[in-house]
């Protein structure tokens, strides 16, 4: 395990780049919110939030560099959450 710990040293610069992208996306989502996109505004805001989360999970939380089992666990958890959301929203829509 210790060996695995050692050889995923990520350069400081990578973290700075990720941070810079996160800040840019925040600026983008705030400035876009003022524009009248109508119905897709929510979709747009959530897409940007999803991109930001992907960056945080992959780089800051090291999922990209961890053993595949972590990706699998995360996928199961996200799929569970997605199922709950989809089932509930269909119920609310077609009630």
């Amino acid at each position: 395990m210790e060996k695995e710990h050692k050889h995923n040293l990520i350069p400081y610069g990578t973290y700075f780049l990720v941070w810079l992208s996160l800040i840019s996306l925040t600026v983008l989502t705030v400035s876009v919110a003022g524009v009248d996109f109508g119905r897709i505004a929510l979709f747009l805001a959530l897409t940007i939030a999803a991109i930001k989360s992907t960056l945080v999970i992959n780089y800051f939380m090291h999922i990209k560099f961890d053993q595949p089992i972590f990706k699998f666990f995360l996928a199961v958890a996200l799929a569970t959450l997605a199922t709950i959301f989809i089932l509930t929203s269909t119920d609310v829509f077609f009630r």
């Binding site: 040293l9 400081y12 925040t26 939030a49 959301f85």
Partner: protein
């Protein structure tokens, strides 16, 4: 100048760990520790997931009331807090990157910055909430109860979701203070930093939740 000191200390620690009498007791399963942390994070995801689910259902039901209610939130403070949390996540990641390279002082510096950002976030949140309280908008306030149902629900969700999130920020900051102590006392070092790594995972989750709270409450037009 400090780095040599640190190296000496780390050599001593390395020697200690190599002692056969210790090896059995000091063996640690980093992989298992991390899986445990992730499993805990999934329960947190479901906890907040339930609240996001309630938000989704009520937003579909009262979309116009939600837009009207959201206009009263302070977009500037919300944006500043978003930037603060994202930056705190950066310093958290850098603190781990520093200890991975055996640079204790740098790791402590970044961890202190993270705790500082956490406090800044809470101070801003405090001013945001007290301003709302002054305008008579808090759960069950007479002024809020006079508003349409959708707006009451919006503020109910706003206070419970950002409140639970702020509670997580408090817990995270306390956790990081303990990590600071461990770093200081060399309980966390180059060869064993799983405590710091797992605390970092918790801290990033707090950031992740805010990434979704921010557009859902502050960016409705």
């Amino acid at each position: 100048m400090k780095s040599t000191e640190v190296e000496v200390v780390q050599e001593k620690i390395a020697e200690k760990q190599q002692e056969p009498s210790h090896s059995e007791h000091t063996h640690k399963d980093f992989f298992g520790a991390k899986i445990g942390m992730w499993l805990f994070l999934f329960t947190e995801m479901l906890l907040f997931g339930g609240l996001f689910l309630a938000y989704m259902v009520y937003r579909l039901q009262y979309s116009i009331d939600f837009v009207i209610a959201a206009q009263d939130l302070n977009l500037l403070l919300g944006t500043i807090n978003t930037i603060i949390l994202l930056t705190s996540s950066l310093t958290m990641a850098l603190s781990i990157a520093a200890i991975q390279r055996g640079r204790k002082a740098l790791s402590i510096f970044f961890l202190l910055s993270t705790i500082g950002f956490a406090l800044a976030f809470l101070v801003i949140k405090y001013f945001e909430w007290t301003a709302k309280f002054h305008h008579g908008i808090y759960p069950n306030s007479p002024e809020l109860l006079n508003k349409p149902n959708g707006e009451i629900i919006f503020y109910g969700l706003y206070y419970s979701m950002t409140g639970l999130h702020a509670l997580h920020v408090v817990v995270g900051a306390i956790l990081l203070l303990f990590m600071l102590l461990f770093l200081w006392r060399n309980k966390i070092h180059k060869e064993d930093y799983i405590k710091l790594e797992n605390s970092g995972l918790y801290w990033h989750l707090v950031d992740l939740i805010w990434i979704f709270l921010f557009p859902l409450f502050y960016l409705i037009h």
